[in-house]
């Protein structure tokens, strides 16, 4: 069985290619393939009738106990036979009907995909697998409804059906997960055995509601039914297959499937029964008001689907018997009527029932389809539809809950069914033909008449010979839904009872409505007009509401103002982290004496003065100077607390930064006003709260004392394993080399980003050219120019020195690179960028690449030696320049080149820009 599903999916995938090879024969071939699948499933019939359940399974997600498994019992068998039988005929029909369409290969592929998905739904032995195929039917339905995608109406209808069925599919997924939790398994076999456990579980109401939403949306139950009439935008074969026989029955299938597990309770009966009843009534009533033949059929389908759901809700022997028989009868007559509607549309060019009259003479075979299927739909004795309707009324009469309500609703909807059936069976064919039809109708091609005729005849045949299927096929299905064997024997001739009397009433009522159809339509329109707009058509209202809500939400939270983003982030952080800090943090005794007394006092005064001044000062240049003050104070704090490498790095960066700021801020507005005058106090409060939070959290941390557990490890291993005395450098190049590689990559990317921002212009705009504003201005000082000449080699020498001794003493690639960059930066400021570039001799961008390659290359040695990437390897012995040679030295060299390259890429480009 699993193979058959996979085969169908495979067939769908190759269909477009097949169409290129075979052309129009593709549809016929797929139809035959579909029949072949049906024949294959039929082989299981005898075993299933004997009460056997066939299972196959392949482990899929073993961790969660999910299996990809197949399950074939009576219910599955009936469904797969409908799917393949109706499917095959629809393919034959479509092979002719779709001839005028483009992209037929794609159409047949979608249709085959849908068939495969439906087979998957009907044969899944596991609820999770069922969900997957369930969603696949929604998606293929979307593609098929929107097949005429150059018509906006088709696109809208496709989207609507996807949103409704797909959205409800999420509810179903939630319901199924809860069901799996409650039942302890996701496979049908286990779940069916644990029905009582599930029904007793506290999750039961939630499971029921969620599953009902999923099934209801798929089967067009009120209030989700709106997508089905809209879906009539699809080509007629799609309407016949998806929207009468197969997909809309998936919801019914699901309810029938879970009936032994979830059914039988009061909640089930009232909830499912009421939803079905309302749907049945709404569909029947609205069908009368339609002028489009397909829409009229669609609403009558909604009504029947409602009846089926109601029957699932009513349950019991009568209810389930009626459910299965009515379902099969409806699949046969409704799909033939939809195909007939397609043929009429094809021949007459319209589907408006006000125009379509008296076509019988030109289209006798099509008329025969309408008549045969119409008889079944109206429930005339000796048709299969009659059996369905009798059982429906009987089930209403026998219902243990709400009997009279269900019965009255069933009779009333039957009245409408009879009227619609009369339109399809009589009105289209008899009487005077209207003159103003878009096409002059002709006898339809045989391939358009034959498939619906076969379907309609099957309904008639089963009407006079129900023994063909009742005990063999339908009985086991009823048994599967009821959870116990239920005898099913249909009779050919009506038995005189109350149900027959009600049936006669419905027939008479239907005839009356048919004769006053115009008036009924007017009443329906008038009544519909009385409803407020949002109730009459809730879908656009909801969609507009959604988009309005999104708009308001965006206006509030995504308003494009940096200020409010910062505000929101800060307030949220202060509230959340502050709460935790106050409630949970433990402050130890704060070590007052730790640190270095008076020196720090002085520094902190400098700090404070600088940042308070920054808040007040408006001159950009003064701000830059103050920022420099803060940076150098930082360096001193580091130096005072044993961070020599940090200190010198900070000094080098600070020097470069100040240069950078001066160059760029020069081109920004010189006076920065404080624009936001309102809410200033609020800003101060937020900033102070954030600062207070950080200070508090930091105090909580330091009050626990120095806690670094890894520090002794690094200190102990630095020399024996990494041959270095400077532990900071050793950590950077050896213990945490991968971090360093990532960090220099960031630096390289930032510098290339600067290059891109400065050098690359949008297409069509001239590149900005210009020279250093400083060199034009009067900044050139003779002293500086002369000093630079000697400073450049000296600084370079210093940087090499720092690089080489980095493993033993303060230094290393980062500091050395900064100092090297500083040498050329100073040269560029003193002279100009072109001369500095000439002195460097290499494009700084290339240094970035070279450095990165060196760094990555140094890591590969480790891999070659069979160790992790970036493992440090050391050569034995040493030399005069380097105490030890090894791959970390190579990494250090890479860092060095990259830092020089990055800093200079940024610097030169900035200097050269106008």
């Amino acid at each position: 069985m699993l193979v058959s599903i996979l085969l169908a999916i495979g067939l769908a995938v190759v269909t477009p290619g097949l169409y290129r090879l075979l052309g129009r024969a593709t549809g016929v071939l797929l139809g035959l393939a579909s029949f072949g699948l049906g024949g294959y499933y039929l082989r299981y019939a005898d075993g299933v009738a004997a009460g056997e359940i066939y299972r196959e399974s392949v482990s899929w997600v073993p961790l969660f106990g999910v299996e990809f498994s197949a399950w074939m019992d009576g219910l599955s068998l009936v469904f797969v036979l409908i799917i393949t039988g109706v499917g095959g005929l629809v393919f034959l029909y479509a092979s002719r009907y779709m001839q005028e369409y483009d992209l037929q290969g794609r159409f047949f592929g979608y249709l085959m995909l849908f068939e495969a998905a439906m087979l998957g739904v009907a044969l899944s032995g596991d609820v999770i697998a069922l969900i997957v195929f369930w969603e696949l039917t929604s998606i293929s339905s979307f593609l098929l409804i929107g097949f005429d995608n150059d018509r906006p109406a088709a696109r809208r209808a496709a989207l609507q059906s996807l949103i409704i069925t797909g959205g409800a599919g999420l509810a179903l997924l939630a319901g199924v997960i809860l069901l799996t939790l409650a039942g302890g398994s996701s496979s049908w076999g286990e779940l069916l055995a644990r029905g009582q456990t599930v029904r007793d579980s506290a999750l039961y109401p939630a499971i029921l509601v969620l599953v009902l939403i999923g099934a209801g949306a798929k089967s067009a139950q009120w209030p989700f039914h709106v997508w089905l009439p809209a879906a009539m935008e699809a080509p007629s074969p799609v309407s016949a297959y998806l929207h009468s026989a197969a997909m809309v029955k998936a919801g019914i299938y699901l309810l029938a499937r879970v009936h032994p597990v979830l059914g039988g309770t009061d909640l089930w009966a009232w909830l499912v029964g009421t939803v079905g009843m309302i749907t049945m009534a709404v569909g029947a009533w609205r069908a009368l008001g339609q002028t489009d033949l397909k829409r009229m059929l669609a609403y009558s389908t909604v009504s029947v689907l409602g009846a089926l759901v109601m029957l699932a809700g009513v349950g019991g022997e009568y209810g389930i018997r009626a459910l299965i028989v009515y379902l099969v009868a409806h699949a046969l007559y409704k799909s033939s009527l939809f195909l007939m509607a397609g043929t009429v549309d094809h021949e007459a060019g319209t589907r408006d029932i006000r125009l379509l009259r008296g076509l019988g003479r030109e289209m006798p075979l099509t008329a025969a389809v309408g008549l045969l299927a119409g008889l079944s739909m109206a429930g005339i004795p000796l048709t299969f539809g009659f059996s369905g309707k009798e059982l429906l009324l009987e089930a209403g009469l026998q219902a243990s809950r709400g009997s009279w309500l269900f019965t009255v609703a069933a009779v009333l909807s039957s009245v409408s069914m009879v009227a619609v059936a009369a339109v399809c069976g009589l009105r289209l064919w008899w009487g005077e033909r209207a003159q103003e039809l878009p096409h002059t109708p002709h006898r339809a091609p045989l391939r358009l008449d034959l498939p619906p005729l076969i379907l309609a005849s099957a309904g008639a045949l089963l009407g006079v010979w129900p023994a063909l299927v009742d005990a063999r096929l339908l009985g086991p299905a009823v048994g599967a839904v009821a959870g116990a064997a239920v005898p099913l024997e249909l009779h050919v001739w009506p038995i005189v009872n109350l149900a027959l009397a009600l049936s006669a009433v419905a027939l008479a009522g239907g005839a009356a409505v048919y004769f006053f159809l115009e008036r009924a339509r007017r009443w329906e329109h008038a009544a519909h007009g009385l409803l407020p707009g949002w109730l009459a058509d809730w879908y656009p209202t909801v969609m507009h509401g959604l988009s309005d809500a999104a708009y308001v939400h965006t206006r509030w939270l995504q308003n494009g103002r940096l200020r409010s983003y910062v505000m929101i982030c800060c307030i949220a952080t202060v509230l959340l982290a502050g709460y935790t800090l106050i409630r949970k943090a433990e402050f130890g005794p704060i070590p007052l004496e730790m640190g270095v007394g008076a020196n720090l006092w002085a520094l902190i005064i400098v700090f404070t003065v600088c940042w308070v001044a920054i808040l007040l000062v408006r001159q950009v240049l003064s701000i830059v100077v103050l920022l420099g003050g803060i940076g150098f104070s930082m360096a001193l704090v580091f130096l005072l607390h044993g961070g020599i490498d940090l200190g010198i790095t900070q000094v080098a960066v600070e020097a470069l930064s100040v240069l950078l700021f001066v160059l760029v801020l020069y081109q920004l507005p010189q006076q920065v006003d404080v624009r936001v005058r309102l809410g200033r106090l609020g800003d101060v409060a937020v900033a102070l709260a954030m600062g207070g939070l950080i200070a508090g959290a930091l105090l909580a941390v330091v009050s626990q004392g120095p806690v670094s557990a890894v520090a002794p490890y690094y200190l102990d291993k630095a020399y024996p394993e990494a041959h270095g005395l400077n532990v900071v450098t050793v950590i950077l190049l050896d213990f945490r080399a991968l971090d360093t590689l990532g960090e220099i990559t960031v630096l390289g990317v930032a510098s290339l980003g600067v290059f891109a921002l400065l050098r690359l212009e949008p297409r069509g705009r001239p590149r900005m050219q210009g020279d250093l504003p400083l060199s034009q201005g009067g900044l050139r000082s003779r002293i500086l120019v002369t000093t630079c000449l000697y400073l450049l080699p000296l600084l370079l020498l210093l940087s090499l020195f720092l690089l080489l001794r980095g493993h033993e003493q303060p230094g290393g690639g980062f500091v050395a690179g900064l100092v090297g960059a500083m040498a050329f930066a100073l040269y560029a400021v003193a002279r100009d960028a072109r001369q500095a570039r000439a002195a460097l001799r290499v494009v700084p961008r290339y240094l970035v690449g070279t450095g990165l390659l060196l760094a990555v290359g140094s890591g590969i040695f480790g891999v070659v030696a069979g160790q992790p990437f970036l493992t440090g390897l050391w050569a034995p012995g040493g030399s005069a320049i380097l105490a030890h040679a090894g791959t970390p030295v190579l990494l250090d060299l890479g860092v060095y080149l990259l830092v020089i390259g990055s800093a200079l890429t940024i610097f030169f480009d900035l200097v050269e820009m106008p």
Binding site: P669, A687, V707, P720
Partner: protein
């Protein structure tokens, strides 16, 4: 003294955030720079200022007692250099924005469509 440093870190944070809230491009950069310093100092202080001896082992490989913790230092060292790169990027980005729109007012920068003044 530790308390003093903690308060300094909090003060730097507050100043940085206040600058970012000012709605000015230039103040935004200044805020970012201040925040960068604040975070570096935060990590440094959180490492515990147990000692003022730099974390260098002796030439014979023995570890003298009372060395400063090398790990926060290694973290901060790269952070300083990367901070320089990202600051440069931010500065240039903002300069580019300023050239395109000719305003320092962040509140006027609310759409992605550039209207050249």
């Amino acid at each position: 003294m530790l308390v003093l440093l903690c308060i300094t870190v909090g003060g730097l944070f507050a100043a940085g955030i206040y600058q970012m809230l000012r709605g000015s491009l230039v103040r935004l950069i200044i805020g970012l720079v201040l925040l960068g310093h604040a975070v570096n100092l935060l990590v440094f202080t959180a490492g515990g200022l147990a000692s003022i001896r730099p974390p260098y082992v002796l030439p014979d490989g023995s570890v003298p007692p009372g060395l400063a913790d090398p790990l926060p230092q290694a973290l901060i060292l790269t952070a300083i250099v990367i901070g320089f790169g990202t600051q440069a990027f931010a500065i240039v980005l903002i300069r580019r924005v300023y050239r395109e729109v000719r305003t320092d007012d962040l509140h006027e920068l609310r759409t992605t469509d550039v209207t050249r003044k």
